[in-house]
Symmetry: D2
């Protein structure tokens, strides 16, 4: 259970951009960006950063830690400006992180530019090699730097055109915000894999990975950036430009299952609604006789409520999550581990004792967490534990900006569902069907990237 | 909503004590105490501390911040011992806190002693004056120091007897753990106002404010310390001694309503169970036609589930709470506030839009948070908002260790329910009845302290 | 050489107090105290603290670290007041220090009081026992707490009278500042062992361990507090009161040799002047043929200049001290140690190569540092190294507030001068004579405590 | 006096490199680099960094603060390797510093490379523009990045050849260490403006800005890197390559006057020796009748000793420098400033009172510090104050990597010596003559860059 965090797929970034009316709000970009990034914190807790322009210069602050650790009142006051982009990041590597922190701010032939990237370039190695042959040097391992170097090669064009050319070079998943001293740009890859939406507040525009970041500052969701679309925002308003021809849609389906905040709406589908429908679909596909439905908090709760609603079996809070997590954590001894340490999740005996329990979770990655939780429920007296998973088995790694475990670690690659059920110690285990998942999300499976379930990758991997 | 934290009653402390078999676990008291305090973190986030004995010396570590900020691996290794007490604390004052941090470690005629206190001495002023006349000096404003000074006056007795005499001097609420180099003692006031329970693990004993701290280390709940009981634990096991004659029971009813962790069982009643019953009782007392039941997360959720269960109206997650809270927070401008900043709670439009909503919360203190939430729900499209409160109106301050607002700030003192309903902008507002509350908690109102509702204080206030 | 700091006697505290005209400087006590403590930083670098009164309340700030680490602009602004006392402290123990940090602020029968102590109570154990029998508890191991508890016993008297009675109880060395909400008090033990002086600035009074703290704030030195004198300063000015009858003078002679800042004047003797005279006396007592005189920086420099002046041999900077010392220090491997790591002191080959060198230092405690330095000089090519020490051999520990090594560690207890000379590898070694030391300091040995040299303790040690 | 630090020219960097025998010392590069950088700390206190290779990968640690703040035992253990370069840096700008911290580590066509730069490229703007036209982007404002980008353009050559070509492109002052995974390179500009020397330890090579960094790790000084020379060190030993033809020598003369550590020897001249000779020359050029010679510590002391030696007037410590400087500093009020706050320098009245004082300092930049010190001496009773400066008037800014004030701030540009003397309030003021300075340094003025005195810049400024 101590590896719980590692037993989930992990989103790697969130991006935010805002262009305010310079006359009305000359200094409000930083404050609004703080709120926006704060709302996107679940997309990356390792580091964050903020680049601000007052129309003339770009200033930058970034650091390791949560948004509220890095950006305080003093930082806000040091960053006057009406135009900003920000980034939250989770990274796989330990130290060295500060080098890869974003936004990346660079000087090039036309002035300054700041970039914040979410996603992953699948032909990064080839692009790096090509650029290096032209004399480029790399100071980071971030894909934002590749984009910056490509843009600089097309720098004699205007930035939108340079970006359009760059999009032809790049393969992979991309949701990106870019700013110069006077302009805010957003762009999304041709399949629309990673999310990016447009908000509006008093006539000013905002870009964000999720709509909940718009809610936070009181803005309304206008629409999502289209696959392959570039939107450019400056004093003249918002202009759109379609770059590479979209080849279909492939929105990351895992945003609905686990990554996104429940209060976000992405590409037209509300996340809480989607999760509840997934839970209902589970109940349709796999009715089980039981006394209570519980969830693995917090991510499994919406689906569990859906299961309860459709099945008529009452939802109860059978597992309690400890909310206080600080900087350090003392590892238990092996002996204590065996005694059943319950630091992050505690079953409530009064609820589960003697009960046939349906436990709903969003996914199983390596299986160790599920095994621990089932064990906790048994010790707390559950007479039966039926595990329901609101996603199909995850068998394939993601190459589009998500930190999945390696193929070998994905338990669904090594075991049949029956074996997994035995491994985790449940009475039964059921994953939602692929088709059922599509139906819960509106019926059309063709608009999603489902590579982690199906191995069918919309963008080829080199 | 930015004052949300201040718009709740607040528990002021949690205590923990452990006496391990010195031969088997010579160095494990600190690690176990870390887990125990971590599980009690909700009872105080301002500071914490840990005193450890190896049978010969008492070592102390304390500091401002969360348990996981103050106690790290290095601290654990610096504190070898089999006997420990710990404390988490929330305090009303800003700086100066470090002086009042507990445990308090003192030298007196018989050696060393560490004390950790939860509650409040109501005749503290008189006791301080009496002690000062005898030449005492006070270095803190904590009640633990008063107890220490009284114990020192009776120091020629053995510690249990000295404590029994001290209990005669003290009026108020008290749940306390004390340790010498070789002994662990727990004591509870004659009314049993503040909670304290006894756990057992492999034959060793633990004392804790709540049973969830026992779960965390794999210990089982043996029983609660009785009102007026002293329990002393040393190498010969546990001995009990009844001190001042209990005058009845007066367990703090607010522990069930809001303070305690849902997975704790206090004085025989499980907290989640109690909250769910309160919700059911609300549904019995005040049935409303509505489409959905939502809760103000997290504390209102159990009651909301109970309401839903009894009423048959589906429970849904209509409000999302942001989990990431860091060290600093940027205050919004007034304008942004008016735009409806939703940093900590965000309504989910897809769930509440066009719906008649029953919103369940545990209490209303000043009313400002409720007003903000109702407003958020309206903006998100709720057609009706009916607020259900799983406690009666709180009209009276607590003098027994809880930080309530002052009488003037308690909205129920200034307004009738109808006026409050209008102030918060709800379509209807209903508080559970006193009698209904008792019934939900098992029928007998005489075993609870209900002073904050009734003004009937079990211990006189000087 | 890495133990250099441990190879010196160490002063344990510095104290400072200021009483400003409340009308003219209502808020300036904290700022002035910062400067005063900053100037006394050499007397203790482990922790510091500041207590401030605005005439009604005493506020306190203290922490581990240097004055400039603990007291910043924000702290100054949080501590408005015209009356303050402060303390810098070095302590022998590692953690736990924060508990013993001063000033100690207490509540007692008459109100609040803050105390800051320099020195050591030699009958502390007896006093603690007597107080404990009366019911006292001790939260620290500082002597300030003993004084506070004694004062509280006499609390029905006015504070000056209570202090006079307390002085009768206490044996040992003491230079102390005390404040109430409205009064500043200074007191010195009957022998005047530890220093304390009175300054004046625009008619307001200051107390400080050394006169250099007065210079820092532009105040002038009025006089030293007399042995056994109490001075009380309030809105009516300064009053003096002689308590216990002084039995003679016994000013710590090591203040002149090493502890005090060179720019301080203590009990009528300027420190730099005294050190230079000690150097001259050394040259008189022990003329050696040599090419250059060098010092072990910084403390040996004044004496070296005196030696050079009297002998006519030129003074040169043969050893360079690295000024940058930070929070951590990487220990060298044994191999590097042997290679001659020169991190803190580096000989300058161009100055010492081929030269007969007289090296002047203030004292030899354990001998390891001297041995290392002589070795460095040899490697840098010095043809002869003659070590001159401006104090007699230190054979006896101090019990009056100085951290000397234990008797066994003092090399002069284990070896004859000839053996020490051989141990450190010098060509010759000479300590100033006792009589020569007195002459350099004005001729009268009877006014100094010379216990560390002579074993003749003015106050009996229990 | 609070601007003292700003009233000096400031060196901007120190560099260090070490290549150890991989078999014998596989992990010792980091520890040795710590000591080396620690010894170079006076060349830059704002930030520092360390890049390490184990022969396969380059790891990097850098941060704001002193060497001992950034590099601790844990860092050392995280950086195993036998090859390292390090950098200490002072920068003019406030925040943003972290971006410019060095070493700079980059990936390019041939692998990885780390660079640490001391000096300044005078044609940086032109080079940046030329590179940007080729598609380069800049992430920092450091000259190291320009070098890296130029090297990458020549990357098909071996690194030494690429560096030789790069040196043709660059104008300005440069002392640089570069490392790949397997090689250490040092290079110095064709005039040899900034210092760089070669050390040897057990057959392994070290590069450092100053020889004192070699002393620290027990290495011996082999020689200085020649102007325009590239030295490459790898498993086969050290190879030298002369690049651009040296056009003469122009060693920065201010290294001898102020920047370098007194125990360093640079381009054949020992710094302490040089300063003493400057002092003697001053005494020759400007004999004054006086009672004592004092210095402005620490940098003026060697010259003052030289003046004293030649003049026969005794040197005394008339000014005391406070050694304890921490993180924050409280600004005095204007009133206190006028009272004569003496926080960093305190005159010793007993030494200067009634005396005719010769005060020796190394330079006068803006004059404010000198004015404050003269004033302090007067208040302390000096009857006459004659200021002797061991450098000629500094009239011209440096463009070769030194932070001088702007031309307008240099007092010697605005005032005649007589006016400066009046401004600072001295009885007389004398600067060493240019010719006298050359004679003190060995007679040949042609080997130094003296642009700050003469305005004759060896490398043209664009």
């Amino acid at each position: 259970m101590f590896d719980e965090v590692k037993d989930k797929f992990r989103d790697e970034c969130g991006v935010f951009g805002i262009y305010l009316n310079k006359t009305v709000y000359p200094d409000e970009a930083a404050r609004n960006s703080f709120y926006g990034l704060y709302a996107l914190q679940h997309r990356g807790q390792e580091s964050c950063g903020l680049a601000i322009s007052n129309g003339e210069h770009i200033l930058l602050r970034k650091g390791m830690g949560l948004v509220s650790d890095v950006i305080n009142q003093e930082v806000i006051e040091d960053l006057p400006g009406h135009l900003a982009i920000g980034h939250v990041r989770y990274s796989t590597a330990g130290y060295g992180g500060i080098v890869n922190t974003q936004p990346l701010v660079i000087q090039y032939l036309q002035g300054s530019m700041a970039l914040a990237y979410n996603g992953s370039i699948t032909n990064a190695r080839q692009l790096r090699h090509r650029l290096a042959e032209g004399g480029a040097v790399f100071q980071t391992t971030s894909d934002a730097e590749i984009v910056a170097l490509l843009l600089a090669r097309y720098a004699k064009d205007c930035l939108e055109n340079a970006l359009a050319k760059t999009m032809v070079d790049i393969e992979g998943a991309l949701a990106m915000v870019i700013m110069t001293e006077t302009k805010l740009i957003g762009v999304r890859d041709p399949w629309g894999i990673r999310p990016l939406c447009i908000g509006e507040l008093n006539g000013d525009y905002i870009l964000a990975s999720e709509s909940s970041a718009l809610d936070t500052i009181g803005a309304r969701l206008v629409r999502d950036v289209e696959p392959g679309e570039i939107v450019a925002i400056d004093r003249n308003g918002l202009r759109s430009m379609q770059t590479v021809k979209p080849q279909g849609k492939a929105h990351c389906i895992f945003e609905y299952i686990y990554f996104a905040r429940p209060d976000s709406t992405i590409d037209g589908i509300n996340v809480t609604y989607a999760r509840r429908e997934l839970g209902k679909q589970l109940a349709r596909e796999c009715p089980v006789e039981a006394d209570i439905v519980i969830s693995v908090p917090d991510s499994g709760t919406s689906a569990a409520l859906g299961y309860a609603e459709h099945s008529g079996i009452p939802f109860q809070q059978g597992l309690l999550k400890n909310r206080y997590v600080g900087r350090t954590f003392i590892q238990p001894t092996q002996q204590m581990r065996e005694m059943g340490v319950r630091l992050k999740l505690n079953p409530i005996r009064e609820i589960v004792e003697g009960k046939r329990v349906i436990m709903v979770d969003d996914s199983i990655v390596r299986g160790t967490t599920s095994r621990n939780i089932v064990n906790l429920l048994r010790r707390a007296g559950a007479s039966e534990v039926h595990m329901m998973v609101s996603s199909p088995p995850t068998k394939h790694p993601c190459y589009y900006g998500i930190d999945t475990s390696s193929r070998e670690e994905l338990i669904a690659n090594r075991m049949t569902p029956a074996q997994i059920c035995q491994y985790i110690g449940a009475d039964s285990l059921y994953h939602i069907s692929e088709q059922g998942m599509y139906e819960a999300l509106g019926g059309n499976g063709n608009i999603f990237c489902t590579a982690c379930f199906t191995g069918s990758y919309p963008v080829k991997i080199s």
